[in-house]
């Protein structure tokens, strides 16, 4: 059943047991994104610690794809610098645009390669991207605050 391409074990696991879900009170940037076509919502709290490492928490309401993607993303980006996060973000965006042609680089994306099947379901790509777009927005804002210009 080709539905299994979409709903991989890893995705359903993250959906049932999401990581970093529950908003942290200590944050520098809060962003709220919605998917206007379906009503899914995500809120992301972002903080850079004293070593400029990302501290991300999130909360949201949505389908398994959008919520699992938020969980996987938070797992991948937490503890990294924004610069270190950039290739991960780029790789995930490329994976979503691949129309199923790209299996994803496990070295960079780790669990997030499970979303490779999503790119074959055009209506679901936005679900998978919801959290990542919120992060992209948050990262730009935090860089704006700290005055850094690269990657903008």
């Amino acid at each position: 059943m080709h539905l299994d391409n979409l709903y991989q074990e890893v995705i359903l696991d993250h959906y049932k047991r999401p990581e970093y879900k529950g908003l942290g009170h200590d944050f520098q940037i809060a962003v709220h994104h919605v998917n206007p076509s379906c009503g899914d919502e995500i809120t992301l709290h972002l903080r850079l610690d004293n070593n400029s490492l990302l501290q991300l928490t999130w909360d949201g309401v949505g389908c398994s794809i959008s919520m699992a993607s938020a969980s996987v993303m938070a797992g991948l980006l937490n503890g990294k610098t924004i610069d270190q996060g950039q290739p991960i973000l780029d790789a995930f965006l490329a994976l979503m645009q691949s129309k199923g042609a790209d299996a994803g680089d496990e070295e960079i994306l780790d669990d997030a390669v499970a979303f490779s099947g999503v790119s074959k379901f055009p209506a679901r790509i936005k679900c998978a991207l919801l959290a990542w777009m919120a992060y992209k927005d948050a990262a730009l804002q935090v860089q704006g605050i700290s005055g850094a210009r690269e990657n903008v």
Binding site: H2, L3, L12, C38, V61, C63, I65
Partner: protein
């Protein structure tokens, strides 16, 4: 003219044979998701089209295409006859007069046309709104019958007020006199909720609205394709519906208005066809309906809609409604046997239509919809362009099945089984 397959009608019981009817709709010849039968339960979003509609639209281009209401040639004459003929079919369909029918792009445009025409009204005019005035809507409106009024309220300074709904998804009219105040100028509401399936009772609302001199505008997108409508009986002042939900083509909608009101209503779109005289400095307007149909209109689509309404008339809306109610009952029963299902909207057949929205414990509608799609079942998931209603229901999204004449009890069985299948699929992993 459109004639449904002769075997469609089971003479003895006069019940619809949906399987036979489906032969009139080319799309049911295709399969989906790896050779499976298409189970189309999304007619509330858009209906499928019978061959006669597709042919009528195509024939307009092949045989009679010319700009209507202009040109001194045979084609222009034939095109005008076809277009005005379609207007007559729509008028008859609603129990209206010919000149009360305005063709628009869709129902959304029909409602926006009204809201903007109100804004264009002279301060002394009947449709002018000012700060002390009130516009009344309901909590169950589709965005298309909410946002134009929100915006009109902003432009005019009028207040927007609304009826709320009760636990069964019906309008709470207990405070009708506080909601429709003496200052109310417009009451805009849906005939049938596109989410809950609720059919709204109009008598009391129309009575109160007219008592205070307000204009009643009815969004009939979900009702006109399924229920016999007679505008005089409904007593409303304006009514909008869309062609594409009524077996017709996309790109054509209808606005009906009482002739005495249309005569006073200023235009919204300006340009060719809608004028009486034009000088460099001034213009005057054509009488309705042409005042509201600027530019070369959507002729082929209007003609296609005429064929669609003929097709519906031939089968009979009361039989269609009866057929849909049988299926709705089967669906409500089947879903209510599943303890993880929550139905949003009336759980009985009283004053409700063929739209059923529901939630499923622990499975998001988008995931359920995706699973159903893998079994060839097309449903709608999301907020159905009624976000405030979803908030009122306390959900971000629902799954909606909406039926039409070509659905049968096997389709309903498939959906009920499909819901259980989704529970196994997502639950067992």
């Amino acid at each position: 003219m459109a004639t449904p397959s002769t075997q469609t009608i089971n003479r003895r019981s006069m019940r619809l044979d949906a399987q036979e009817l489906r032969k009139d709709f080319p799309i049911f010849q295709r399969t989906v998701r790896g050779g499976q039968r298409l189970i189309y339960l999304d007619s509330g979003a858009t209906s499928q089209k019978p061959r006669v509609v597709i042919e009528e639209e195509s024939n307009f281009y092949s045989l009679t295409n010319a700009a209507v209401h202009r040109g001194a040639h045979q084609l222009a004459e034939e095109a005008t006859d076809a277009y005005e003929g379609a207007r007559q079919i729509v008028a008859d369909f609603l129990g209206a007069k010919l000149d009360e029918i305005i063709f628009t792009k869709n129902a959304t445009e029909s409602l926006n046309l009204l809201a903007y025409a109100f804004s264009n009204s002279e301060p002394s005019g009947r449709f002018h709104l000012k700060k002390q005035d009130r516009i009344v809507v309901t909590e169950m409106e589709h965005h298309a019958n909410l946002i134009p009024w929100q915006q009109l309220a902003k432009r005019s300074g009028a207040t927007l007020a609304w009826f709320s709904i009760d636990g069964q998804g019906r309008l709470d009219l207990s405070n009708i006199e506080e909601v429709i105040t003496v200052n109310t100028k417009v009451v805009a509401l849906t005939h049938q909720s596109n989410v809950l399936g609720t059919i709204n009772p109009l008598t009391a609302i129309v009575k109160r609205a007219h008592e205070v001199g307000a204009i009643v505008i009815l969004d009939a997108c979900q009702s006109a394709p399924h229920l016999e409508i007679d505008v005089a009986t409904l007593g409303v002042d304006f009514l909008a519906f869309s062609g594409h939900k009524s077996l017709g083509p996309t790109g054509v909608g209808v606005l009906w208005g009482r002739v005495d009101l249309l005569e006073q209503l200023p235009p919204f779109l300006y340009g060719g066809s809608m004028i009486e005289t034009v000088t460099m400095a001034e213009s005057t307007w054509a009488p309705p309906p042409r005042r509201f149909e600027a530019g070369v209109p959507n002729m082929a689509q209007a003609v296609g809609l005429g064929a669609a309404l003929n097709y519906l008339n031939k089968i009979g809306l009361s039989r269609i409604h009866e057929h849909e109610m049988e299926l709705t009952e089967q669906l409500l029963l089947g879903l209510s046997e599943n303890s993880d299902v929550e139905i949003f909207g009336p759980n009985n057949l009283e004053m409700r239509g063929e739209v059923v929205s529901f939630g499923l414990a622990n499975i998001h509608p988008h995931d359920l919809g995706q699973y159903l799609d893998s079994r060839g079942i097309a449903v709608r998931t999301g907020h159905h362009c009624a976000w405030p209603l979803n908030r009122r229901l306390g959900v971000n999204a629902t799954t909606r099945a909406s039926l039409y004449l070509y659905n049968d009890s096997l389709d309903i069985d498939a959906l009920i089984e499909g819901v259980r299948g989704a529970q196994l699929y997502f639950g067992a992993r």
